[in-house]
């Protein structure tokens, strides 16, 4: 039996009922990882030893009849910008080459409490800055559907690890689309929760006011199961909100759905076609779909890159290699030149964003850029709030284009930034958004993005599961 193909509910049930042991399951996954990693490169660190140890511990507990959590035995991978106590957390950067966190991120703690097994830390664009997972010190992750193509990013390792059947669930982080983009490119489900639903404590900040940790799974049910484990107020994160609810994988209650015209119009026609056919499928099961327009989304990308780089320039200032980092002797430097020398080890894209961010915050420009960007944000919030008075959910393409070739956009940063045009809006407004597999163009996946009002994750999960049922899209390629 190929245990690595099972979704999280099947794994948890199988292990709890002792149909198979957690150890057997983890062993199979490790073999699978060994087999496909040379092609996919989804992981920075595989924590095989720890995973087996934990699997055996869980098996013993189950044998002894003790209580185990809802995700007992389920293997998860975690993006390498989320801190795990005692396990290297590098952000795919030389700057954190030797960084071993002395603490667990809150989401790691809650996943462990739910019984999950950490199988490894996944690849990303350095400090989560990128949309392809090419800007990694550990090399690019490859799209399991076509290993010549990018898996999306920045949580490309997480999405690829789930699509390539190297684990059941994964955690990524989404600052401007970093969960949804690779979910779309890899044909898996990826959710960016409402800002404040999931604790960011232990997530290495790129742009604090925009980002959320989000779950990946091959099914909507998997994503809602993982969301149940990680959502909720955290006293260690002032920006979390209360009011956690229990999410289910969906009801069939018909929804009022708006198709965002600006998003479909700007997309590759092949992609838009799939969005419209998805809408038809949803209508086929009773939903009502209208075309809607929201002109302020035109300013979203500029606003996003202003705010994100501003926050990043400050967040990344702490990496001076004095307290943690990588090997570099301070001998012969005074501190200023040491900082400069150490910080020259950031990758090109990170440096670009630090410089952009420093510029938009500099005196005399603050009002022109940063404040303007914040104003755009308020306008977007207002416009979307009014749309959500008429619609339960809004849909559009997650990505305006199909997964492209590795290296294709590396020389043109601006073109690269443009691929985020549909995803950044949800980060600016704070609303939840999901990417759910909607179809293929040739062998290349297309994801549908579904957005809802703040804290209406259940609506999104409902819509996504309706599409999932009616579309029946393949979730993992042959590798």
């Amino acid at each position: 039996m190929q245990l690595y193909r099972l979704d999280s509910a099947q794994v948890a049930a199988g292990i709890r009922n002792r149909d198979f042991s957690a150890e057997e399951y983890v062993q199979q996954l490790l073999e699978r990882i060994e087999k496909v990693e040379p092609k996919v490169n989804a992981f920075i660190t595989v924590t095989g030893g720890l995973a087996l140890e934990r699997a055996r511990w869980l098996d013993r507990r189950i044998k002894d009849g003790e209580q185990v959590g809802p995700l007992a035995g389920v293997a998860v991978s975690i993006k390498d910008n989320i801190c795990v106590n005692g396990t290297k957390t590098t952000c795919a950067s030389k700057m954190l080459d030797n960084f071993v966190p002395p603490y667990d991120a809150t989401v790691v703690k809650t996943l462990f409490d739910a019984g999950a097994i950490l199988i490894g830390k996944t690849n990303l664009d350095e400090f989560a800055m990128g949309s392809t997972t090419e800007f990694s010190r550990k090399g690019a992750t490859r799209n399991p559907w076509d290993i010549a193509r990018v898996p999306g990013g920045s949580s490309g390792g997480s999405a690829a690890s789930v699509a390539a059947l190297e684990c059941a669930l994964s955690l990524g982080s989404d600052t401007g689309g970093s969960v949804r983009c690779p979910a779309s490119f890899c044909s898996v489900v990826g959710l960016k929760p409402t800002y404040g639903l999931v604790s960011r404590y232990g997530l290495i900040s790129y742009a604090n006011s925009l980002e959320q940790i989000g779950p990946f799974g091959r099914t909507v049910a998997d994503v809602s199961a993982m969301l149940n484990a990680i959502a909720g107020h955290d006293e260690r994160d002032h920006t979390t909100a209360g009011g956690k609810q229990h999410y289910t994988s969906g009801s069939d209650k018909p929804l009022r759905i708006g198709i965002v015209k600006e998003f479909t119009e700007g997309a590759d026609p092949d992609v838009s076609k799939i969005v419209y056919s998805s809408a038809e499928k949803l209508e086929g099961i009773g939903c009502k779909c209208d075309q809607v327009t929201c002109s302020s989304v035109e300013y979203a990308l500029a606003s996003y890159y202003t705010i994100a780089t501003a926050e990043a320039s400050s967040n990344l200032a702490r990496y001076d290699n004095m307290r943690y980092g990588f090997e570099m002797t301070p001998e012969g430097y005074e501190w200023n030149s040491y900082f400069a020398k150490a910080r020259s080890n950031f990758g090109e894209e990170v440096k670009r964003r630090i410089i952009l961010g420093s510029y938009v915050l500099s005196s005399g420009y603050y009002g022109k850029y940063y404040l303007k960007a914040q104003q755009v944000r308020s306008v977007l919030r207002k416009d979307f709030a009014s749309l959500f008075k008429q619609y339960d959910a809004l849909i559009g393409p997650t990505m305006p284009i199909l997964p492209f070739k590795i290296g294709e956009k590396l020389d043109d940063p601006l073109k690269m930034y443009l691929v985020d045009v549909d995803t950044v809006v949800a980060n600016l407004t704070g609303m939840p958004a999901i990417s759910v597999p909607a179809g293929f163009v040739g062998n290349l996946p297309v994801g549908l993005q579904i957005m809802a009002d703040n804290f209406q994750e259940q609506t999104i999960l409902d819509a996504a599961s309706m599409l999932e049922k009616s579309a029946g899209i393949q979730r993992s390629p042959d590798l």
């Binding site: 603490y103 900040s205 994160d237 920006t239 200032a317 603050y366």
Partner: protein, 477 residues
């Protein structure tokens, strides 16, 4: 020439238990280096700040005491600059350039009779870590060590308008600030480095010079005097005073240019995304006022009205909370406010070392407690000893910490009011000072000379009134 002085005073909130954004101790002194740190205050990746509500309350108390307005909402900003003592290479502070976010603004403080200063703002921020130089000085060290134990401790910065003209007034203001924070119980000013002051000074409309690295308030005054002389001399010679930061050199008693050329910094302020705006609400300020301990001005008024002290004596006590507490504590043992205040202000202060005064705790070096002063006042009041004996006893108390009554018994310093014993002493003085006796019979002023001799012969123990009566009586015989 027209002098303008403005101050930036930093007070650590030593009265809160934990740091401003984490649960590490705010009491970092005397701990092993870098042992009082956590992921948040050492700036580890992924850690988030958690705001200490007590610090906001305390900062609000200072704001109220300085006559500031407290806004309905406050926020924190990042001040970005690279320095090894900053774990995150930015400092969390408050900033008013894009709208008021600091805990207090637009205050006025009267710090002496008829003298007041405008307070521009009061803001809450985090203290950086501490650089420890190999040789103790930045100039001569080849390396330095960093101790982050202090990083993240709550700091209140008080920024005044440039309203001071005289360095003496600056000193009076700083003493008042000290007294206020001591009375509020939020800052133990006796702890090294708990209150720090930078001064800005310009002369005749010239450039502004910032003076840093001044470790005591007495030195702030000295540094300002030095700068006034320096800048005045330059202006007279038509040399332009440069806008710069100068450091106070304590050993040479002068200010000097900073070794590192400080460029115009662009701090790239922006609101801290991890700490949402704190809504204090309109009731907050009045709630703070209600919860505040008695402030120095109110206490002074009470000392005058309740205890009948003179305004001057009350002020001397209040200026130093330690003395005021000492006074009220002594009153609980012996309720004679006028006497006790006098003993403290005129006599006890004579034993206070100027260095101790600067170090913060006036009485720390003296082995005296309120019970000593209370007993001393009592045994003078009940006539057991006279005033001049009491002064000698006080001197001994400060050294040994023995109780005054015990010293009096041991040295038999109790007053001689036994007429017979006094008469004997007077007889012997009359015998040895025959010339003076003759004079005194003609000239009443000469009686004082004989009285002095009697007092001397009794080591000051003679009851003055009884002795004078006996001398006059004997002269008439």
């Amino acid at each position: 020439m027209d002098t303008k002085i403005g101050l930036e005073v930093h007070c650590q909130l030593t009265g809160v238990r934990t740091k401003l954004f984490c649960s590490c101790h705010c009491d970092y002194r005397g701990r092993a280096p870098n042992s009082n740190v956590c992921p948040t205050c050492s700036g580890l990746p992924g850690a988030l700040p958690l705001l200490n509500k007590k610090s906001i309350e305390f900062a609000a108390m200072i704001s109220v005491a300085l006559g500031c307005r407290i806004p309905d909402e406050i926020a924190f900003y990042r001040k970005n600059y690279f320095y090894p003592d900053l774990p995150k290479n930015f400092q969390l502070t408050q900033y008013n350039a894009y709208g008021v976010t600091s805990i207090g603004v637009d205050g006025v403080l009267q710090y002496a009779d008829g003298k007041s200063v405008r307070i521009r703002r009061v803001q809450l921020e985090e203290d950086p870590g501490r650089l420890v130089y190999e040789t103790g000085s930045m100039e001569t060290s080849t390396y330095s060590l960093i101790d982050y134990n202090r990083a993240g401790v709550s700091l209140v910065e008080i920024v005044t308008e440039p309203d001071f003209v005289d360095p003496k007034d600056v000193r009076a203001f700083l003493d008042k600030i000290t007294s206020i924070v001591e009375h509020l119980g939020i800052c133990d000013t006796k702890l090294e480095g708990s209150v720090r002051c930078d001064a800005n000074i310009s002369i005749a409309g010239g450039n502004r010079v910032e003076i840093k690295n001044v470790s005591s308030f007495a030195d702030v005054e000295k540094a300002l005097r030095y700068e006034i002389t320096r800048q005045t001399t330059m202006v007279k010679r038509d040399i332009e005073v440069r806008a710069e930061t100068r450091h106070w050199d304590d050993s040479r008693k002068l200010t000097k240019e900073s070794r590192t050329k400080e460029e115009e910094q662009d701090y790239r302020y922006f609101p801290e995304p991890d700490i949402p705006t704190v809504v204090l609400g309109s009731g907050f300020a009045s709630q703070v006022v209600r919860s505040m301990p008695e402030l120095p001005d109110a206490r002074k008024e009470r000392f005058v009205s309740k205890y009948g002290l003179s305004a001057h004596v009350a002020q001397v006590l209040i200026d130093n909370k330690e003395l005021a507490d000492f006074f009220e504590s002594a009153l609980r043992s012996y309720n004679s406010p006028g006497e006790i205040a006098n003993w403290i202000v005129t006599d006890l202060m004579g034993f206070v070392d100027e260095r101790q005064k600067q170090a913060g705790s006036i009485l720390a070096g003296l082995k005296i407690g309120p019970e000593h002063i209370a007993e001393l006042a009592r045994i003078v009041d009940d006539g057991t000893i006279n005033r001049s004996t009491a002064k000698q006893i006080l001197a001994q108390v400060t050294k040994t910490g023995e109780m005054p009554a015990k010293i009096a018994r041991q040295t038999q310093a109790t007053k001689i009011d036994d007429t017979e014993e006094l008469a004997k002493v007077i007889d012997s003085v009359f015998k040895s000072e025959t010339g003076a006796i003759q004079d005194a019979k003609q000239n009443p002023n000469a009686v004082n000379f004989i009285f002095g001799k009697v007092m001397k012969a009794t080591n000051g123990r003679a009851d003055p009134k009884a002795a004078l009566d006996l001398i006059n009586k004997k002269l008439k015989d």
